[in-house]
Amino acid sequence: MRNFFKTYGLFIVFMVVALIALEYLVQSDIIPAFIVPAPTDVVIHIIENWRPLIFEHLGATMLEFAIGFILAVVGGVGLAVSMFFSKTIEKMLYPAVLISQMIPIIALSPIFVLWFGYTIWSKVAVTILMSFFPIVVGAYDGFKSTDKDYIELLRSMGASKRQIFTKLNIQMAFPSFFSGLKIAIVYSLVGATIGEWLGASEGLGYYSRRMSGDLNADGVFAAIVILTIVGIILFALTAMLEKRTLRWKETE
């Protein structure tokens, strides 16, 4: 706990001061409330609407996020493994993975709506597109980062390519894989929200868009605050998993 305050103490103090200043500026009409709402108004909005916000909208966003993220991890790791074992697959697909990142996702999303309609799958597709890349690159670069000396050592013992992969490459890939995963988990949530902005009937992205149409800044910010908190929690959970998995790195 002490460490936590040592690391984040200054940031927390800064945020508290900034929120108090904002509250003052809005309450005293220096900034109009429809531009930036007072922090207390956002909290009141969340408290008054917590049932639909959490159960209906956050639930829908989380479902899209979870399906998209899991598919991206399974597909991304699968592709990274295939590219690692087959030069042909690598040469054929690696450029395509790179190019997929150059596409402006906002522009592509209406096409997903065209393909999948207003079902959950148009949102899942945006989520996958957002998070696939850091997972593939993290895992693939990780597999390839294996030190040649270690490979030689295992080969000298008569290890097969498969044994080298399971005993060496996978472990060696974890640090790079987790770096990708931490980016991907945050991107996934952003992806689900973007998907909802472009066409949905529930979810926090849809909620904030509807509130924005009503010029209800409290509502827009309420959705943003919830999404941010969820994003931080997901990131922290991934970082914890990373720490557990890579315990051997800590003593280095």
């Binding site: 000396d149 270690y150 295992l154 000298s156 013992m157 008569g158 005993k167 472990q171 051997w248 003593t251």
Partner: protein
């Protein structure tokens, strides 16, 4: 058991001149042979050829008349290369995981850890133990592959002189007990003289074999004997 290198020539890819050309070596069962020579004379390359990691362009390498293949000998590279996520015990057991026919139980491994003073570190990670301990674990890993021939590439190069002396005594005692054949690379001429039956001096395009005139068993007092000091001087001139 005889390890035989016959007319072995090896050239690195993209290089024109061979690093090893027409090398002939015969190493008998139970011998302790050291390879010495300046950097770039191909010492480590010879060990990699014997393991099968590199393939010679010409010539043949055999054990008991059979061409060698990967997994036939125990190999300990320069760096200890312990897998950092595996405990000391799991590092030692990796040979048995790879070669399914290897009869090595955790109980055997534990007995060895006891003998080398590492039993309290069975569950420690490599980063939690000292350099000398890591070398011992790496040595056990190579030795417990159960192969008759052990190739040791400068195993004590990075150790301080006191630890090095301890490790030398320790290696000699294990070698004498287990009757292994050891091919040992070192830059330390005293170490080569003290440990070996025979020293192979590699120069570019020539090889010289020198018998060590010390009797067995060796002990630390011999380090100051006139034979060893004389031999070391001779090697210094020749290298």
């Amino acid at each position: 058991m005889t390890l035989l290198l016959k007319n072995v020539t090896y050239t690195f890819p993209k290089e024109k001149k061979p690093i090893i050309s027409d090398l002939n070596l015969k190493i008998e069962k139970g011998e302790f042979v050291s390879l010495i020579g300046k950097s770039g004379t191909g010492k480590s390359t010879i060990l990699k050829l014997i393991t099968g990691l590199l393939k010679q362009a010409l010539g043949e390498i055999t054990i008991n008349g059979q061409p060698i293949s990967l997994g036939d000998v125990g190999y300990m590279p320069q760096k200890d290369l312990l897998l950092p996520w595996r405990t000391v015990m799991d590092n030692i057991m990796i040979g048995a995981e790879i070669q399914k026919d290897l009869q090595l139980t955790k109980e055997d491994a534990r007995n060895w850890l006891k003998r080398v003073g590492l039993i309290d570190y069975e569950q420690a990670l490599p980063n939690q133990i000292s350099g000398g301990m890591r070398q011992r674990v790496a040595f056990l890993r190579a030795m417990l592959t159960g192969k008759e021939v052990l190739l040791l590439d400068e195993p004590f190069g990075a150790l301080d002189s006191i630890t090095k002396k301890e490790m030398q005594a320790w290696l000699l005692s294990i070698w004498q007990e287990l009757d292994k054949t050891i091919v040992f690379i070192t830059h330390d001429l005293e170490e080569a003289s003290y440990l070996s039956d025979r020293i192979i001096l590699l120069k570019q395009y020539s090889v010289e074999e020198i018998e060590v005139p010390l009797h067995r068993p060796r002990h630390a007092d011999m380090l100051h004997s006139s034979e060893l000091v004389g031999l070391r001087r001779e090697l210094e001139k020749k290298i």
